[in-house]
Amino acid sequence: MSTGPSLKMKRRLNMVIATLLAIGFCIVVFNLGSIALSNNEFYQQKATNQQLRDMQINPKRGTIYDTNMKELAKSATVWNVVLSPNDIKEEDRAAIAKGLAEILDMDEETILEKTKKNNYFEYVSKRVEKPVADEVRAFAQENKFSCIYLFEDSKRYYPLGSFASNVIGFTGDDNQGLYGLEAYYDDVLEGTPGRIVSAKNAWGTDMPYRYEKLYEPQDGNGLVLTIDEALQHFLEKNLETVITQHHVNNRACGIIMDVNTGAVLAMATKGDYDLNNPYEISDPTVKAAIDAIENETERKTALSNAREAQWKNKAITELYEPGSVFKMITGAAAVEENIVEDNWSFTCRSMITIAGTTMKCWTYPRAHGAQNFQEALAHSCNPAFITLGQTLGVSTFYKYLQGFGFTERTGIDLPGEEQSFIYGQESQYGPVELASCSFGQSNKYTPLQMITAMCAVVNGGKLMQPYIVRQIVDSEQNVVENIEPQVKRQVISEETSKVMREALEYVVEANGASNSYIKGYRIGGKSGTSQKLDRNAAETEKTPYTASFAAFAPADDPEIAILVMVDEPMGDDYYGSTVASPVVSAVLQDALPYLGIQPEYSEEDLAEMEATVPYVVGQSPMTASSYLAAQGIRCKVVGEGDTVLRQYPTSGNVMPIDGTVYLYTDSTAPEQVEVPDVKGKSASEANIDLLNANLNIKIVNPTDNVDAKVVSQSIEPGRKCEVGTVVTLTFGEVTSSE
């Protein structure tokens, strides 16, 4: 008799187990299929999130260069100092505050307050540089303060401070462009962030080389500007001078442009700001006024407005009435329409009546009399150009207004360009409106529009697209994109342009120094003075004017054009010829030789050249006299001695040939004379007065213009000085429009 399980029973058991296994297997296979096939994306994502972590790598912002690859803006890594207050032990608080305050040059109390906050992340100082970051790190390590952290950040450096500040702009806290080129080309400069994707273990830390994939960041591309550092410097330096000299109320701006390509070689606005501290008000007067406001809200509003005002690029964001400068446009239109021909003539009677409205010439009650086109332009005769405008008619005038780009933005690659203010649509122009616009009143344009139009007048008639970025380069300075000059349209013919060049050159020659004449150079240009009709004397101490001057050189084959606009000069002078013209002259005197354009002097010019006084102390009077004579300088010997002991003027002084140097051969004290007042006098009168006082005369801006008068003298009238002292005179002539 058997006692164990029978075969049948064993078979049955096997069947049951097999069935259970099969069922289990099917369930597992089904789940596997469900996870791997139907919900694979969901689980993949979960796995990725759990097993991998990614970290963004910030790209470097692109560099901005001037046209000669000088760096104007560049980014570098800096550090943010952060505290974790909740991790600070009570006994360490004071030491941390003291240590960090010393290193970061901050107030200890402020840092102590931060240590008491109830969080794990508190900024102490942002964007500290490496030496300071190293000190903080060393301080934390020495004292074993694990609550002090350093996080990397990026800082934008502007090595030249306020240089071209209104053009370059600046970046914000997140390295985003906020103004100027930084904003306009933000997508080019910012680059593309990279990523590191790496495996992490159960504790959340990296498993190096278990899995790591690096997506390299793409550093931002750089910009190569058309701006030339040297030309920009010349322009900024002289704008600073005019702001101070003429007590300018509402800033001044200037543009230098390549006549043939539209490239902006310099663009400056003064008062500007330091790009490294854009939120700091640079004008001390404005700053003091804001600090004096007691009301918190009002102070904040005033601060905000002051910041906006200093950030704005006056050359493209503000409008002005160009005044007589616009006459070149009316003149070009008239020449192109054959209204002005060789025998054209106009007789100025000091005023003109249009549709019952009388408009006076600036010389009223004097009249210019009969004049041809060149003379009318040189005289800036308002009735002449009103007549030309009337002859053109509204439709034709408006056509040239559009043709020269005055009815639309130029489209320069800078943000915030303002749209010009045109009096009205063509249909709204009556004869009076046309008359007013013909000599540059009523309509308002940006300085950029005006200089772009002037370039079209003198470069053969082509209206060029102004631009400020000529190349986009990568981080290795390889060229990514070239920006080529573009011709927008042909506005006038080459023949008309030639006539206008000659006419504008005549303006400078005829008016001399008051219109930026520089000996040895052929320069063309036009001054303009306009009353700001929308402002009145009640708002300011005096009636506000805008003084401007536009010029180009060389006149026979123009290469550069320059426009300077001075907004509300509040000094004694407010005319374009006396305020803006000297700025243009000074800039061109530096810029033209820099550009390789050397002066060419005629025999007459050479005869009027100046000489530098040589050093003759210690020589015998005879020898000194011969030496001076060789330089074209006369001398007067004072005393009976054999050796020259002193000389006046001293060596290095520049004086005209035929000036006199006084040589003292004994201890006779130099004679002191009182400097006479020669302001307002003509060249010959001033010369006589100064020579009679035994003083030497030097003229800054000589002119053949008989109407030119002395506008300033280097030594104030009434001051005592030694005989022979050189007194420098500046001449000018009043030119204005109403």
């Binding site: 000088k70 760096e71 560049k74 980014s75 570098a76 890594t77 800096v78 540089e129 490496k130 450096y157 502007y158 090595p159 030249l160 401070g161 240089f163 190096p208 080389y209 550092e229 040297a230 410097h233 330096k237 000996k519 040895g520 002066p599 002097y601 025999e603 050479l606 050249m609 100046e610 000489a611 530098t612 290095g652 520049v654």
Partner: protein, 163 residues
């Protein structure tokens, strides 16, 4: 009926007498000689092999671990060096900015004027020379003869073929 020999064999449950029937046959069979190696030697070779394999495995694992460790260490060094490089590059940018700032045209001009007492060169310090107008020679245009034309064409052809 005669019984089969087989059937006639005696069976006895107690004894398997059939075994003894074949015994005589079996005695005659020669034993098969089988050479059996020394079992002790066999064991030691096996041990050597095992130990060898173990050592190899340990060595390979150690080498793998060591290489990972070295890789990690070198990786760390590279990361540290890269960080240092970036820091120094940033410092370089900062220092260059400071240098550029000191060497700006404004500062240079101010230093030249105020510290070195230099003045800009003016026209009075230059010597000017009068350059006579360039002399030109004007040749009368002559009509080209047939021979001249041939010579010119030949020269052009020579220039073209680079001979």
């Amino acid at each position: 009926m005669a019984l089969d020999n087989t059937a006639r064999k005696r069976t006895n449950a107690a004894y398997e007498l059939e075994y003894f029937d074949n015994a005589a046959q079996q005695v005659d069979q020669q034993p098969i000689k089988k050479v059996v190696r020394n079992p002790q030697k066999k064991n030691s070779r096996l041990m050597v092999k095992t130990v060898g394999v173990l050592i190899t495995v340990v060595a390979v694992c150690s080498a793998l671990l060591y290489s990972r460790a070295v890789l990690t260490e070198v990786g760390d060094q590279i990361t540290t060096s890269n960080e240092t490089l970036e820091e120094l590059q940033s410092e370089g940018v900062r220092l260059k900015s400071e240098l550029d700032s000191k060497l700006s045209l404004d500062n240079v001009e101010e230093y030249a004027l105020n510290e070195l007492d230099l003045v800009k060169m003016n026209a009075a310090q230059k010597d000017y020379v009068t350059v006579p107008p360039a002399e030109t020679v004007q040749e009368e245009e002559k009509e080209e003869s047939f021979w001249d034309m041939l010579v010119r064409k030949f020269e052009e052809f020579r220039e073209y073929i680079g001979f």
